[in-house]
Protein backbone atom coordinates (compact mmCIF):
# COMPACT_ATOMS: atom_id res chain seq x y z
CA UNK A 1 0.00 0.00 0.00
CA UNK A 2 1.29 3.44 -0.87
CA UNK A 3 2.25 5.58 2.12
CA UNK A 4 -0.03 8.32 0.81
CA UNK A 5 -3.15 6.18 1.00
CA UNK A 6 -5.67 6.41 3.80
CA UNK A 7 -5.48 3.09 5.64
CA UNK A 8 -8.64 1.04 6.10
CA UNK A 9 -8.72 1.44 9.87
CA UNK A 10 -11.77 1.98 12.07
CA UNK A 11 -10.95 4.82 14.45
CA UNK A 12 -12.72 4.98 17.81
CA UNK A 13 -15.19 7.64 18.95
CA UNK A 14 -12.74 9.55 21.17
CA UNK A 15 -10.18 9.72 18.34
CA UNK A 16 -12.78 10.90 15.85
CA UNK A 17 -14.14 13.51 18.29
CA UNK A 18 -10.69 15.10 18.23
CA UNK A 19 -9.63 14.50 14.61
CA UNK A 20 -12.58 14.08 12.23
CA UNK A 21 -12.93 16.97 9.81
CA UNK A 22 -9.74 18.66 11.05
CA UNK A 23 -6.71 17.76 8.97
CA UNK A 24 -3.76 20.19 9.28
CA UNK A 25 -4.31 23.25 7.13
CA UNK A 26 -2.10 22.65 4.07
CA UNK A 27 -0.99 26.24 3.36
CA UNK A 28 0.34 27.14 6.81
CA UNK A 29 0.42 23.83 8.67
CA UNK A 30 -1.91 25.26 11.33
CA UNK A 31 -2.89 22.38 13.59
CA UNK A 32 -6.04 24.02 14.97
CA UNK A 33 -8.85 24.54 12.47
CA UNK A 34 -8.44 28.19 11.41
CA UNK A 35 -11.35 30.59 11.81
CA UNK A 36 -12.00 31.51 8.19
CA UNK A 37 -13.64 34.83 8.98
CA UNK A 38 -14.49 35.71 5.39
CA UNK A 39 -17.74 36.37 3.60
CA UNK A 40 -16.53 35.23 0.19
CA UNK A 41 -13.80 33.46 -1.80
CA UNK A 42 -11.70 34.46 -4.82
CA UNK A 43 -12.19 32.13 -7.79
CA UNK A 44 -9.16 30.67 -9.59
CA UNK A 45 -10.67 31.46 -13.00
CA UNK A 46 -14.09 31.87 -14.64
CA UNK A 47 -14.33 28.13 -15.38
CA UNK A 48 -13.84 27.25 -11.71
CA UNK A 49 -16.41 29.82 -10.65
CA UNK A 50 -18.94 28.33 -13.06
CA UNK A 51 -18.15 24.80 -11.88
CA UNK A 52 -18.72 25.76 -8.22
CA UNK A 53 -22.04 27.47 -8.90
CA UNK A 54 -23.17 24.53 -11.08
CA UNK A 55 -22.21 22.14 -8.23
CA UNK A 56 -19.95 20.31 -10.70
CA UNK A 57 -16.99 20.89 -8.39
CA UNK A 58 -16.67 21.13 -4.60
CA UNK A 59 -15.60 24.68 -3.90
CA UNK A 60 -16.31 27.77 -1.82
CA UNK A 61 -18.42 30.60 -3.14
CA UNK A 62 -20.04 32.52 -0.28
CA UNK A 63 -20.16 31.95 3.49
CA UNK A 64 -23.95 31.96 3.64
CA UNK A 65 -23.74 28.61 1.80
CA UNK A 66 -20.41 27.15 2.93
CA UNK A 67 -17.32 28.07 4.96
CA UNK A 68 -14.20 25.99 5.69
CA UNK A 69 -14.43 26.34 9.48
CA UNK A 70 -18.12 25.48 9.45
CA UNK A 71 -17.41 22.57 7.07
CA UNK A 72 -14.87 21.11 9.51
CA UNK A 73 -17.55 21.10 12.22
CA UNK A 74 -20.09 19.61 9.79
CA UNK A 75 -17.74 16.79 8.83
CA UNK A 76 -16.92 15.99 12.46
CA UNK A 77 -20.60 15.92 13.47
CA UNK A 78 -21.53 13.74 10.50
CA UNK A 79 -18.66 11.40 11.28
CA UNK A 80 -19.64 11.05 14.95
CA UNK A 81 -23.33 10.46 14.13
CA UNK A 82 -22.50 7.95 11.40
CA UNK A 83 -24.06 10.12 8.69
CA UNK A 84 -22.69 10.87 5.21
CA UNK A 85 -22.64 14.62 5.77
CA UNK A 86 -24.13 17.54 7.66
CA UNK A 87 -25.21 21.12 7.17
CA UNK A 88 -24.77 23.53 10.07
CA UNK A 89 -27.17 26.37 10.83
CA UNK A 90 -27.33 29.49 12.99
CA UNK A 91 -29.46 27.67 15.59
CA UNK A 92 -31.07 24.32 16.28
CA UNK A 93 -34.46 25.68 15.26
CA UNK A 94 -33.00 27.05 12.01
CA UNK A 95 -31.60 23.57 11.31
CA UNK A 96 -34.91 21.92 12.03
CA UNK A 97 -37.07 24.30 10.00
CA UNK A 98 -34.66 24.03 7.06
CA UNK A 99 -34.66 20.23 7.21
CA UNK A 100 -38.46 20.27 7.03
CA UNK A 101 -38.72 23.08 4.46
CA UNK A 102 -36.51 21.07 2.08
CA UNK A 103 -38.89 18.10 1.95
CA UNK A 104 -42.40 19.50 2.49
CA UNK A 105 -44.94 21.07 0.12
CA UNK A 106 -48.49 22.35 0.81
CA UNK A 107 -50.93 19.49 1.36
CA UNK A 108 -48.37 17.25 3.07
CA UNK A 109 -48.81 15.91 6.59
CA UNK A 110 -46.34 15.31 9.39
CA UNK A 111 -46.59 13.24 12.54
CA UNK A 112 -44.68 14.42 15.61
CA UNK A 113 -44.22 13.36 19.20
CA UNK A 114 -46.39 15.34 21.62
CA UNK A 115 -43.53 15.35 24.17
CA UNK A 116 -41.16 17.70 22.34
CA UNK A 117 -39.23 20.76 23.43
CA UNK A 118 -41.73 23.65 23.64
CA UNK A 119 -39.86 25.67 21.02
CA UNK A 120 -40.15 22.78 18.60
CA UNK A 121 -43.88 22.38 19.21
CA UNK A 122 -44.36 26.09 18.52
CA UNK A 123 -42.21 25.90 15.39
CA UNK A 124 -44.00 22.85 13.98
CA UNK A 125 -47.39 24.47 14.50
CA UNK A 126 -46.31 27.73 12.87
CA UNK A 127 -44.54 25.99 10.01
CA UNK A 128 -47.58 23.79 9.40
CA UNK A 129 -49.90 26.77 9.21
CA UNK A 130 -47.62 28.81 6.95
CA UNK A 131 -46.75 25.92 4.63
CA UNK A 132 -50.34 24.59 4.60
CA UNK A 133 -49.11 21.30 5.99
CA UNK A 134 -51.17 19.17 8.38
CA UNK A 135 -49.69 18.15 11.70
CA UNK A 136 -50.66 15.39 14.12
CA UNK A 137 -49.12 15.03 17.58
CA UNK A 138 -48.99 11.53 19.04
CA UNK A 139 -47.97 9.89 22.32
CA UNK A 140 -44.35 9.03 21.47
CA UNK A 141 -44.39 6.02 23.81
CA UNK A 142 -47.03 4.11 21.85
CA UNK A 143 -45.79 2.86 18.46
CA UNK A 144 -49.37 1.95 17.47
CA UNK A 145 -50.33 5.63 17.85
CA UNK A 146 -47.62 6.60 15.38
CA UNK A 147 -48.87 3.97 12.93
CA UNK A 148 -52.50 5.09 13.32
CA UNK A 149 -51.61 8.73 12.64
CA UNK A 150 -49.91 7.96 9.30
CA UNK A 151 -51.97 8.66 6.17
CA UNK A 152 -51.36 8.93 2.42
CA UNK A 153 -50.19 12.54 2.66
CA UNK A 154 -47.77 11.86 5.54
CA UNK A 155 -44.22 12.81 4.59
CA UNK A 156 -42.25 12.50 7.81
CA UNK A 157 -42.21 11.37 11.44
CA UNK A 158 -40.48 13.57 14.01
CA UNK A 159 -39.35 12.81 17.58
CA UNK A 160 -36.61 13.33 20.15
CA UNK A 161 -34.24 10.60 21.35
CA UNK A 162 -34.94 11.76 24.90
CA UNK A 163 -38.06 13.91 25.24
CA UNK A 164 -37.84 17.37 26.72
CA UNK A 165 -38.71 17.66 29.57
CA UNK A 166 -40.61 14.39 30.13
CA UNK A 167 -37.60 12.14 29.67
CA UNK A 168 -39.46 9.88 27.22
CA UNK A 169 -37.01 7.53 25.52
CA UNK A 170 -38.01 6.92 21.91
CA UNK A 171 -38.29 3.35 20.62
CA UNK A 172 -36.31 4.43 17.57
CA UNK A 173 -36.30 1.05 15.86
CA UNK A 174 -40.08 0.63 16.14
CA UNK A 175 -40.92 4.16 14.99
CA UNK A 176 -38.38 3.97 12.14
CA UNK A 177 -40.05 0.78 10.94
CA UNK A 178 -43.43 2.57 10.91
CA UNK A 179 -41.91 5.45 8.93
CA UNK A 180 -40.30 3.11 6.42
CA UNK A 181 -43.51 1.07 6.01
CA UNK A 182 -45.07 4.38 4.95
CA UNK A 183 -42.04 5.17 2.72
CA UNK A 184 -41.26 8.36 4.66
CA UNK A 185 -38.20 9.36 6.70
CA UNK A 186 -37.89 9.45 10.49
CA UNK A 187 -36.30 12.67 11.77
CA UNK A 188 -34.84 12.53 15.27
CA UNK A 189 -33.64 15.41 17.42
CA UNK A 190 -30.60 13.90 19.15
CA UNK A 191 -29.63 17.01 21.13
CA UNK A 192 -30.14 15.46 24.58
CA UNK A 193 -28.32 12.20 23.89
CA UNK A 194 -25.51 13.45 21.62
CA UNK A 195 -23.85 10.89 19.34
CA UNK A 196 -21.76 9.72 22.27
CA UNK A 197 -24.77 8.26 24.10
CA UNK A 198 -26.94 7.28 21.11
CA UNK A 199 -26.63 7.28 17.32
CA UNK A 200 -30.24 7.15 16.06
CA UNK A 201 -29.18 6.30 12.49
CA UNK A 202 -27.84 2.96 13.74
CA UNK A 203 -31.46 2.17 14.71
CA UNK A 204 -33.06 3.33 11.47
CA UNK A 205 -33.48 7.11 11.79
CA UNK A 206 -32.90 8.80 8.43
CA UNK A 207 -32.09 12.34 9.50
CA UNK A 208 -30.76 13.63 12.82
CA UNK A 209 -31.08 17.25 13.89
CA UNK A 210 -29.18 18.96 16.66
CA UNK A 211 -29.10 22.05 18.70
CA UNK A 212 -25.30 22.12 18.95
CA UNK A 213 -25.73 24.94 21.48
CA UNK A 214 -26.16 22.24 24.13
CA UNK A 215 -23.80 19.35 24.98
CA UNK A 216 -21.99 19.47 21.61
CA UNK A 217 -20.62 22.90 22.53
CA UNK A 218 -20.89 22.43 26.27
CA UNK A 219 -19.66 25.94 27.02
CA UNK A 220 -22.88 27.87 26.57
CA UNK A 221 -21.14 30.55 24.50
CA UNK A 222 -22.77 30.14 21.09
CA UNK A 223 -26.02 29.30 19.35
CA UNK A 224 -25.97 26.73 16.55
CA UNK A 225 -27.68 23.76 14.94
CA UNK A 226 -27.07 21.02 12.41
CA UNK A 227 -28.82 18.53 10.16
CA UNK A 228 -27.09 15.17 9.61
CA UNK A 229 -28.26 12.77 6.87
CA UNK A 230 -27.77 9.00 6.86
CA UNK A 231 -27.96 8.96 3.05
CA UNK A 232 -30.15 5.85 3.31
CA UNK A 233 -33.57 7.27 2.47
CA UNK A 234 -34.88 6.79 -1.08
CA UNK A 235 -36.15 10.22 -2.10
CA UNK A 236 -37.06 8.83 -5.54
CA UNK A 237 -39.80 6.54 -4.14
CA UNK A 238 -42.53 8.69 -5.70
CA UNK A 239 -43.52 10.63 -2.56
CA UNK A 240 -40.90 13.38 -2.69
CA UNK A 241 -41.11 15.09 -6.07
CA UNK A 242 -39.86 18.23 -4.31
CA UNK A 243 -36.51 16.49 -3.69
CA UNK A 244 -36.35 14.12 -6.66
CA UNK A 245 -37.76 16.09 -9.61
CA UNK A 246 -35.82 18.66 -11.66
CA UNK A 247 -35.70 21.80 -9.53
CA UNK A 248 -36.80 25.13 -11.00
CA UNK A 249 -34.84 26.77 -8.15
CA UNK A 250 -31.61 25.23 -9.50
CA UNK A 251 -31.85 25.41 -13.32
CA UNK A 252 -33.58 22.04 -13.60
CA UNK A 253 -31.16 20.00 -11.52
CA UNK A 254 -32.64 16.74 -10.17
CA UNK A 255 -30.79 16.56 -6.87
CA UNK A 256 -31.49 12.95 -5.93
CA UNK A 257 -30.76 11.51 -9.37
CA UNK A 258 -27.60 13.58 -9.87
CA UNK A 259 -26.07 13.29 -6.40
CA UNK A 260 -27.57 9.98 -5.31
CA UNK A 261 -27.48 9.53 -1.55
CA UNK A 262 -25.96 13.03 -1.21
CA UNK A 263 -28.92 14.65 -3.01
CA UNK A 264 -30.94 15.71 0.02
CA UNK A 265 -27.96 17.39 1.72
CA UNK A 266 -26.97 19.12 -1.53
CA UNK A 267 -30.49 20.50 -1.87
CA UNK A 268 -30.59 21.48 1.82
CA UNK A 269 -27.39 23.49 1.33
CA UNK A 270 -27.57 24.76 -2.25
CA UNK A 271 -31.25 25.73 -2.11
CA UNK A 272 -32.65 25.94 1.42
CA UNK A 273 -29.62 27.42 3.17
CA UNK A 274 -28.97 29.65 0.16
CA UNK A 275 -32.56 30.93 0.16
CA UNK A 276 -33.48 31.06 3.86
CA UNK A 277 -29.99 32.10 4.91
CA UNK A 278 -29.71 30.79 8.47
CA UNK A 279 -25.96 30.17 8.23
CA UNK A 280 -23.66 29.43 11.18
CA UNK A 281 -20.84 31.91 11.73
CA UNK A 282 -17.22 30.67 11.40
CA UNK A 283 -16.36 31.80 14.94
CA UNK A 284 -19.26 29.83 16.40
CA UNK A 285 -18.22 26.76 14.38
CA UNK A 286 -14.72 27.08 15.82
CA UNK A 287 -16.10 27.24 19.36
CA UNK A 288 -18.33 24.22 18.77
CA UNK A 289 -15.31 22.25 17.52
CA UNK A 290 -13.48 23.03 20.76
CA UNK A 291 -16.48 21.61 22.57
CA UNK A 292 -16.72 18.47 20.43
CA UNK A 293 -13.13 17.52 21.26
CA UNK A 294 -14.12 16.81 24.86
CA UNK A 295 -17.67 15.60 24.21
CA UNK A 296 -17.05 11.97 25.31
CA UNK A 297 -15.19 13.03 28.45
CA UNK A 298 -17.83 15.55 29.44
CA UNK A 299 -20.76 13.25 28.71
CA UNK A 300 -19.34 10.56 30.97
CA UNK A 301 -19.24 13.09 33.81
CA UNK A 302 -22.65 14.60 32.93
CA UNK A 303 -24.40 11.24 33.04
CA UNK A 304 -22.74 10.00 36.21
CA UNK A 305 -23.47 13.28 38.04
CA UNK A 306 -27.06 13.21 36.79
CA UNK A 307 -27.61 9.66 38.08
CA UNK A 308 -26.19 10.61 41.49
CA UNK A 309 -28.49 13.61 41.78
CA UNK A 310 -31.53 11.74 40.44
CA UNK A 311 -31.07 8.91 42.94
CA UNK A 312 -30.67 11.39 45.79
CA UNK A 313 -33.84 13.22 44.76
CA UNK A 314 -35.80 9.99 44.38
CA UNK A 315 -35.18 9.13 48.04
CA UNK A 316 -36.72 12.37 49.36
CA UNK A 317 -40.23 12.52 50.83
CA UNK A 318 -40.91 16.02 49.50
CA UNK A 319 -40.33 14.92 45.89
CA UNK A 320 -43.38 13.41 44.22
CA UNK A 321 -41.43 11.90 41.35
CA UNK A 322 -38.11 11.96 39.46
CA UNK A 323 -38.37 11.49 35.72
CA UNK A 324 -34.86 10.33 34.92
CA UNK A 325 -35.00 7.49 32.37
CA UNK A 326 -31.90 5.91 33.90
CA UNK A 327 -33.55 5.19 37.27
CA UNK A 328 -34.37 1.49 37.71
CA UNK A 329 -38.08 2.19 38.32
CA UNK A 330 -38.42 4.43 35.24
CA UNK A 331 -41.02 3.20 32.76
CA UNK A 332 -38.31 3.81 30.15
CA UNK A 333 -35.73 1.54 31.80
CA UNK A 334 -35.92 -1.18 29.08
CA UNK A 335 -35.62 1.41 26.26
CA UNK A 336 -32.78 3.12 28.14
CA UNK A 337 -30.92 -0.18 28.39
CA UNK A 338 -31.33 -0.70 24.65
CA UNK A 339 -30.70 2.78 23.25
CA UNK A 340 -28.71 4.57 25.96
CA UNK A 341 -26.42 1.99 27.57
CA UNK A 342 -23.76 4.60 28.40
CA UNK A 343 -26.26 6.79 30.27
CA UNK A 344 -29.63 8.45 29.84
CA UNK A 345 -28.39 12.00 29.43
CA UNK A 346 -28.15 14.74 32.03
CA UNK A 347 -31.41 16.68 31.64
CA UNK A 348 -34.37 15.53 33.68
CA UNK A 349 -37.33 16.78 35.65
CA UNK A 350 -38.56 16.14 39.13
CA UNK A 351 -41.87 17.07 40.66
CA UNK A 352 -42.15 18.83 43.98
CA UNK A 353 -45.00 17.55 46.13
CA UNK A 354 -46.65 20.97 45.97
CA UNK A 355 -47.57 23.73 43.50
CA UNK A 356 -46.30 26.59 41.41
CA UNK A 357 -45.19 28.85 44.27
CA UNK A 358 -43.13 26.08 45.85
CA UNK A 359 -41.33 25.64 42.55
CA UNK A 360 -40.44 29.31 42.43
CA UNK A 361 -39.29 29.25 46.08
CA UNK A 362 -37.09 26.28 45.30
CA UNK A 363 -35.40 28.18 42.48
CA UNK A 364 -34.88 31.21 44.74
CA UNK A 365 -33.05 28.97 47.20
CA UNK A 366 -30.27 27.62 44.97
CA UNK A 367 -27.04 29.49 44.29
CA UNK A 368 -24.82 27.12 42.27
CA UNK A 369 -27.45 26.02 39.74
CA UNK A 370 -27.95 28.81 37.19
CA UNK A 371 -31.57 29.82 36.67
CA UNK A 372 -31.78 30.14 32.89
CA UNK A 373 -33.39 28.75 29.75
CA UNK A 374 -30.79 26.41 28.34
CA UNK A 375 -29.54 22.87 28.82
CA UNK A 376 -26.34 20.98 28.16
CA UNK A 377 -23.91 23.48 29.67
CA UNK A 378 -20.85 22.32 31.65
CA UNK A 379 -22.47 24.32 34.48
CA UNK A 380 -25.58 22.96 36.18
CA UNK A 381 -28.82 24.69 35.20
CA UNK A 382 -32.30 24.88 36.65
CA UNK A 383 -35.66 26.09 35.38
CA UNK A 384 -39.37 25.95 36.13
CA UNK A 385 -40.85 25.04 32.70
CA UNK A 386 -44.48 26.02 33.36
CA UNK A 387 -43.52 29.67 33.83
CA UNK A 388 -40.69 29.89 31.25
CA UNK A 389 -39.81 27.54 28.33
CA UNK A 390 -43.28 26.05 28.01
CA UNK A 391 -45.41 29.04 28.94
CA UNK A 392 -46.76 29.42 25.37
CA UNK A 393 -48.44 26.04 25.64
CA UNK A 394 -52.01 25.65 26.84
CA UNK A 395 -52.87 23.48 29.86
CA UNK A 396 -53.73 20.46 27.72
CA UNK A 397 -50.50 20.77 25.78
CA UNK A 398 -48.54 21.15 29.02
CA UNK A 399 -50.10 17.98 30.37
CA UNK A 400 -49.39 16.19 27.08
CA UNK A 401 -45.76 17.25 27.39
CA UNK A 402 -45.73 15.87 30.95
CA UNK A 403 -45.32 19.15 32.82
CA UNK A 404 -47.01 19.99 36.09
CA UNK A 405 -47.08 23.22 38.15
CA UNK A 406 -44.35 21.93 40.50
CA UNK A 407 -42.10 20.45 37.83
CA UNK A 408 -38.45 21.53 38.02
CA UNK A 409 -36.06 20.79 35.17
CA UNK A 410 -32.38 20.26 35.88
CA UNK A 411 -29.50 20.13 33.44
CA UNK A 412 -26.68 18.55 35.41
CA UNK A 413 -23.20 19.89 34.73
CA UNK A 414 -19.74 18.54 35.36
CA UNK A 415 -19.18 20.04 38.83
CA UNK A 416 -18.51 17.90 41.93
CA UNK A 417 -21.75 16.00 42.58
CA UNK A 418 -21.67 16.63 46.34
CA UNK A 419 -21.75 20.38 45.64
CA UNK A 420 -24.82 19.96 43.45
CA UNK A 421 -26.61 18.04 46.18
CA UNK A 422 -25.56 20.67 48.75
CA UNK A 423 -27.08 23.35 46.54
CA UNK A 424 -30.35 21.50 45.96
CA UNK A 425 -30.68 21.05 49.73
CA UNK A 426 -30.80 24.85 49.96
CA UNK A 427 -33.65 24.87 47.46
CA UNK A 428 -35.62 22.42 49.57
CA UNK A 429 -34.88 24.45 52.72
CA UNK A 430 -36.18 27.62 51.05
CA UNK A 431 -39.27 25.79 49.86
CA UNK A 432 -39.95 24.61 53.41
CA UNK A 433 -39.65 28.20 54.62
CA UNK A 434 -36.31 28.00 56.43
CA UNK A 435 -33.86 28.87 53.69
CA UNK A 436 -31.64 31.91 53.47
Amino acid sequence: MSDDYQPDHEFGFHTRAVHAGARPEPTTGARAVPIYQTSSYVFEDPESAAAYFNLQEYGNTYSRIMNPTVAALEERLANLEGGIGAVAFASGLAAQSSALFTMLVPGDHMVASAALYGGTVTQLKHLARKLSVDLTFVDPDVPADWARAVRDETRLLFAETIGNPGGNVLDIEAVAAIAHDAAVPLLVDNTFATPYLCRPMEWGADIVVHSVTKFIGGHGTSIGGAVVDSGEFDWSNGKFAIVADPSPAYHGLAFHETFGSYGYLMKLRAETLRDLGGAMSPLNAFLFMQGLETLPLRMERHVSNAMTVAQWLSERDDVAGVRHPGLPDSPYAPLTAKYLPKGAGAVFCFDLDRGREAGQDFIRGVRLFSHLANVGDAKSLIIHPASTTHRQLGDDELAAAGIGPGTIRLSIGIEDPQDLIWDLEQGFARMHGNGS
Binding site: D8, R23, R31, Y58, A71, A72, E75, N79, G252, L265
Partner: protein
Protein backbone atom coordinates in the same frame (compact mmCIF):
# COMPACT_ATOMS: atom_id res chain seq x y z
CA UNK B 1 -27.79 -10.07 -1.92
CA UNK B 2 -24.27 -9.62 -3.22
CA UNK B 3 -21.61 -8.72 -0.67
CA UNK B 4 -20.33 -5.45 -2.11
CA UNK B 5 -17.61 -4.81 0.45
CA UNK B 6 -14.78 -6.53 -1.49
CA UNK B 7 -15.50 -4.07 -4.31
CA UNK B 8 -15.57 -1.01 -2.04
CA UNK B 9 -12.12 -1.53 -0.51
CA UNK B 10 -10.51 1.85 0.27
CA UNK B 11 -7.10 0.61 -0.79
CA UNK B 12 -8.34 -0.60 -4.19
CA UNK B 13 -10.34 2.60 -4.69
CA UNK B 14 -7.30 4.77 -3.95
CA UNK B 15 -5.04 2.64 -6.18
CA UNK B 16 -7.48 3.01 -9.09
CA UNK B 17 -7.86 6.77 -8.52
CA UNK B 18 -4.08 7.28 -8.40
CA UNK B 19 -3.06 4.94 -11.23
CA UNK B 20 -5.67 5.72 -13.87
CA UNK B 21 -4.88 8.34 -16.50
CA UNK B 22 -7.32 7.55 -19.29
CA UNK B 23 -10.93 6.93 -18.24
CA UNK B 24 -13.51 5.59 -20.68
CA UNK B 25 -16.99 6.50 -19.40
CA UNK B 26 -19.61 4.12 -20.78
CA UNK B 27 -23.00 5.82 -20.97
CA UNK B 28 -21.60 9.35 -20.72
CA UNK B 29 -24.41 11.80 -21.59
CA UNK B 30 -24.07 15.24 -23.16
CA UNK B 31 -26.96 16.43 -20.94
CA UNK B 32 -25.22 18.62 -18.35
CA UNK B 33 -27.83 17.72 -15.71
CA UNK B 34 -27.09 13.98 -15.82
CA UNK B 35 -24.90 12.36 -13.18
CA UNK B 36 -22.60 10.90 -15.89
CA UNK B 37 -21.92 14.38 -17.20
CA UNK B 38 -21.09 15.64 -13.69
CA UNK B 39 -18.60 12.80 -13.28
CA UNK B 40 -17.05 13.25 -16.75
CA UNK B 41 -16.70 17.01 -16.27
CA UNK B 42 -15.13 16.50 -12.84
CA UNK B 43 -12.71 13.82 -14.03
CA UNK B 44 -11.52 15.97 -16.96
CA UNK B 45 -11.11 18.94 -14.60
CA UNK B 46 -8.91 16.83 -12.36
CA UNK B 47 -6.51 15.82 -15.12
CA UNK B 48 -7.92 12.51 -16.34
CA UNK B 49 -8.24 11.98 -20.09
CA UNK B 50 -11.96 11.26 -20.49
CA UNK B 51 -13.19 9.22 -23.47
CA UNK B 52 -16.97 9.01 -23.94
CA UNK B 53 -18.44 5.65 -24.92
CA UNK B 54 -22.02 6.12 -26.07
CA UNK B 55 -23.44 5.17 -29.49
CA UNK B 56 -26.12 7.87 -29.12
CA UNK B 57 -23.64 10.73 -28.79
CA UNK B 58 -21.29 12.28 -31.37
CA UNK B 59 -19.23 14.30 -28.92
CA UNK B 60 -19.38 14.86 -25.15
CA UNK B 61 -17.33 17.38 -23.11
CA UNK B 62 -15.39 18.22 -26.28
CA UNK B 63 -14.31 14.61 -26.85
CA UNK B 64 -15.38 12.30 -29.66
CA UNK B 65 -17.77 9.60 -28.45
CA UNK B 66 -17.19 5.98 -29.48
CA UNK B 67 -19.96 3.39 -29.89
CA UNK B 68 -18.08 0.78 -27.84
CA UNK B 69 -14.88 0.26 -25.86
CA UNK B 70 -13.39 -1.79 -28.72
CA UNK B 71 -13.67 1.22 -31.04
CA UNK B 72 -11.34 3.40 -28.95
CA UNK B 73 -8.02 3.75 -30.82
CA UNK B 74 -5.84 4.22 -27.73
CA UNK B 75 -5.15 2.42 -24.44
CA UNK B 76 -7.70 2.78 -21.63
CA UNK B 77 -6.76 2.49 -17.94
CA UNK B 78 -10.19 2.61 -16.31
CA UNK B 79 -13.68 1.80 -17.56
CA UNK B 80 -16.39 3.68 -15.60
CA UNK B 81 -19.92 2.41 -16.21
CA UNK B 82 -23.24 4.34 -16.19
CA UNK B 83 -25.41 1.60 -17.73
CA UNK B 84 -28.10 -0.83 -16.63
CA UNK B 85 -26.63 -3.88 -14.85
CA UNK B 86 -27.56 -6.27 -17.70
CA UNK B 87 -25.14 -4.42 -20.01
CA UNK B 88 -22.21 -4.96 -17.64
CA UNK B 89 -21.05 -8.50 -18.59
CA UNK B 90 -20.53 -7.41 -22.20
CA UNK B 91 -18.74 -4.24 -21.11
CA UNK B 92 -16.55 -6.27 -18.72
CA UNK B 93 -15.53 -8.64 -21.57
CA UNK B 94 -14.58 -5.66 -23.72
CA UNK B 95 -12.71 -4.02 -20.82
CA UNK B 96 -10.60 -7.19 -20.45
CA UNK B 97 -10.07 -7.35 -24.22
CA UNK B 98 -8.83 -3.75 -24.53
CA UNK B 99 -6.40 -4.24 -21.64
CA UNK B 100 -8.02 -1.90 -19.09
CA UNK B 101 -6.62 -2.18 -15.56
CA UNK B 102 -9.83 -1.45 -13.67
CA UNK B 103 -13.62 -1.61 -13.96
CA UNK B 104 -15.69 0.89 -11.96
CA UNK B 105 -19.47 0.42 -11.63
CA UNK B 106 -21.37 3.53 -10.50
CA UNK B 107 -24.20 3.70 -7.91
CA UNK B 108 -26.79 1.00 -8.53
CA UNK B 109 -24.82 -0.71 -11.29
CA UNK B 110 -24.55 -4.09 -9.57
CA UNK B 111 -23.52 -7.07 -11.68
CA UNK B 112 -21.96 -10.15 -10.03
CA UNK B 113 -21.43 -11.67 -13.50
CA UNK B 114 -19.65 -8.59 -14.77
CA UNK B 115 -17.46 -8.55 -11.65
CA UNK B 116 -16.52 -12.20 -12.20
CA UNK B 117 -15.49 -11.56 -15.80
CA UNK B 118 -13.41 -8.49 -14.91
CA UNK B 119 -11.78 -10.13 -11.89
CA UNK B 120 -10.88 -13.23 -13.92
CA UNK B 121 -9.31 -10.88 -16.47
CA UNK B 122 -7.08 -9.40 -13.76
CA UNK B 123 -8.84 -6.05 -13.39
CA UNK B 124 -9.41 -4.15 -10.15
CA UNK B 125 -13.15 -3.79 -9.59
CA UNK B 126 -15.09 -1.08 -7.72
CA UNK B 127 -18.89 -1.45 -7.50
CA UNK B 128 -21.83 0.72 -6.33
CA UNK B 129 -19.55 3.67 -5.73
CA UNK B 130 -19.23 7.04 -7.51
CA UNK B 131 -15.90 7.89 -9.09
CA UNK B 132 -16.38 11.60 -8.45
CA UNK B 133 -17.29 11.16 -4.79
CA UNK B 134 -14.41 8.78 -4.10
CA UNK B 135 -11.94 11.11 -5.83
CA UNK B 136 -13.33 14.03 -3.84
CA UNK B 137 -13.10 11.99 -0.63
CA UNK B 138 -9.43 10.99 -0.92
CA UNK B 139 -7.88 13.55 -3.26
CA UNK B 140 -10.37 16.35 -3.86
CA UNK B 141 -12.43 18.69 -1.73
CA UNK B 142 -15.60 16.90 -0.70
CA UNK B 143 -15.10 18.17 2.86
CA UNK B 144 -15.73 21.79 1.87
CA UNK B 145 -19.44 20.98 1.61
CA UNK B 146 -19.61 19.28 5.02
CA UNK B 147 -19.55 15.69 3.74
CA UNK B 148 -17.80 13.07 5.83
CA UNK B 149 -14.69 11.85 4.05
CA UNK B 150 -13.79 9.43 6.83
CA UNK B 151 -10.23 10.67 6.43
CA UNK B 152 -8.39 10.94 9.77
CA UNK B 153 -4.83 12.21 9.47
CA UNK B 154 -2.46 14.52 11.34
CA UNK B 155 -0.08 14.70 8.36
CA UNK B 156 0.33 17.94 6.48
CA UNK B 157 -0.64 17.47 2.86
CA UNK B 158 1.42 18.87 0.05
CA UNK B 159 0.08 22.26 -0.90
Amino acid sequence: MTDLSPYQDPEVIQRVLHQARTVAIVGLSSNVLRASNFVGFYAARHGYRVIPVNPREEEVLGERSYPSLSDIPEPVDLVDVFRAPDAVPGIAREAVAVGARALWLQFGVISPEGVEIATAGGLDVVMDRCFKIEHARYIGRMHVLGFDTGVISARREAH
